[in-house]
Amino acid sequence: MAEAEESPGDPGTASPRPLFAGLSDISISQDIPIEGEITIPVRSRIREFDSSTLNESVQNTIMRDLKAVGKKFMHVLYPRRSNTLLRDWDLWGPLILCVTLALMLQRGSADSEKDGGPQFAEVFVVVWFGAVTITVNSKLLGGNISFFQSLCVLGYCILPLTVAMLICRLVLLAEPGPINFMVRLFVVTVMFAWSVVASTAFLADSQPPNRKALAIYPVFLFYFVISWMILTFTP
């Protein structure tokens, strides 16, 4: 190796050695492996997306979406500070809940239209425009949640109130009276509190701390109006 370090082009030396003569003495004693694969192993997931979602059966598609909706229902029923609802938002759940609630709030057409309870369209409008207004309000106050994420959370948190509507309808099958009303009042109050707590758990972190109450109050008003519609329902 010492020969290799000598500069063969040194003008002072008049040696007749050829250029790079020392290099021929270098030998690579070890086998440095320089061969290998340069192909990236194809992940099996990519292969799945390539062909399967178009070719899978309709049942698979529906079940996948239903499972996602069901998973979010579980998150609403046991509210923790998680962001599952925020990460993969979808609006199927709110649509199913809103339609169910509006259908259950329908009464028979025996009553005059003017004096009756909310019609299907009124419930729809109250729920969706209420959710949109609250979302716009929270964005105007400086919250950093996206539009559809907020709609998703507000829609999913109607689930406890829909359950309350189911229970109220069952309770109303029994005889009317003050006990009947007390039971319904208790159920609706508990579910209203559950809805507000669940939506607060998801939405509170997206607001700046000195405006949290300003953003939460419209949510409270929104669920209060829906609870009122449920409580005043008479078949």
Binding site: D111, K114, D115, G116, G117, P118, Q119, E122, N137, K139, L140, L141, G142, N210, R211, K212, A213, L214, Y217, P218, L221, F224, V225, W228, M229, T232, F233, T234
Partner: protein
Amino acid sequence: MAAADELTFHEFEEATNLLAETPDAATTSRSDQLTPQGHVAVAVGSGGSYGAEDEVEEDSDKAALLQEQQKPQPGFWTFGYYQSFFDVDTSQVMDRIKGSLLPRPGHNFVRHHLRNRPDLYGPFWICATLAFVLAVTGNLTLVLAQRRDPSIHYSPQFHKVAVASITIYCYAWLVPLALWGFLWWRKGVRERMGPYTFLETVSVYGYSLFIFIPMVVLWLIPVPWLQWLFGALALALSAAGLVFTLWPVVREDTRLVAVALLSAVVLLHALLALGCKLYFFQSLPPEHLAPMPQVSPLPPNVPRPSTLPQSMATS
């Protein structure tokens, strides 16, 4: 801490005098440009009243103000333009609500509480709350009446929500528009004080409606004279707030115009309260209901014979 409190109080007064006597810096800038002079004026006032609290808040306030002065003014088609109308904290909204509940003669709501930062959060959500509370308590009155007299037919009456919200929102937005237009038209008469901007007028009206919310809830008590008493009290407080706010602007006008304007404002407010009482709190069976009774003006301080509508005599 007492010395600091004294200092903040004096600064407060000087700031409001400054704001009153420099109309160009205070009010018209808000309608023309969004940021520079208006926010400079605010720095004096907000530094005074929040000085007793965290210094961190004050520093971040000033830092935010300085940043805003450097930003270009957003056009009205951008989201940022509307965001500037919601630039309030919880404490500020509570302070404004408290200020509207307790009007004092020299205490101008626009100068002392809004201070060049009118917001739309208060008016919008107070109107929404009032509309829903009206519908809910009106329905509750029917429930309670049915308990006393089982012949009354109960129904949820959901259409009243629509009526309530349309009425309240029209009042809280169209009347300030008319008032602002009128004051703008009479602007030439005044030397000292410019008119309030449209947003400030809307804010004043919105916050003045807040007292109607507890009044409507108290109307659940089915004692008629108590209901009229609460109504008169709330109307007096609310109208007083409006009058004290508008007085500095109209007092330089001719006497006739000033008196006419203020009495028109009070009259409209009284009409609103009366209309709410009559329409939402009738506890009669539906057959006896007159369709939206003809409301004759009945201001509490003007003795005038008026023809009472049929339902009013029985409610």
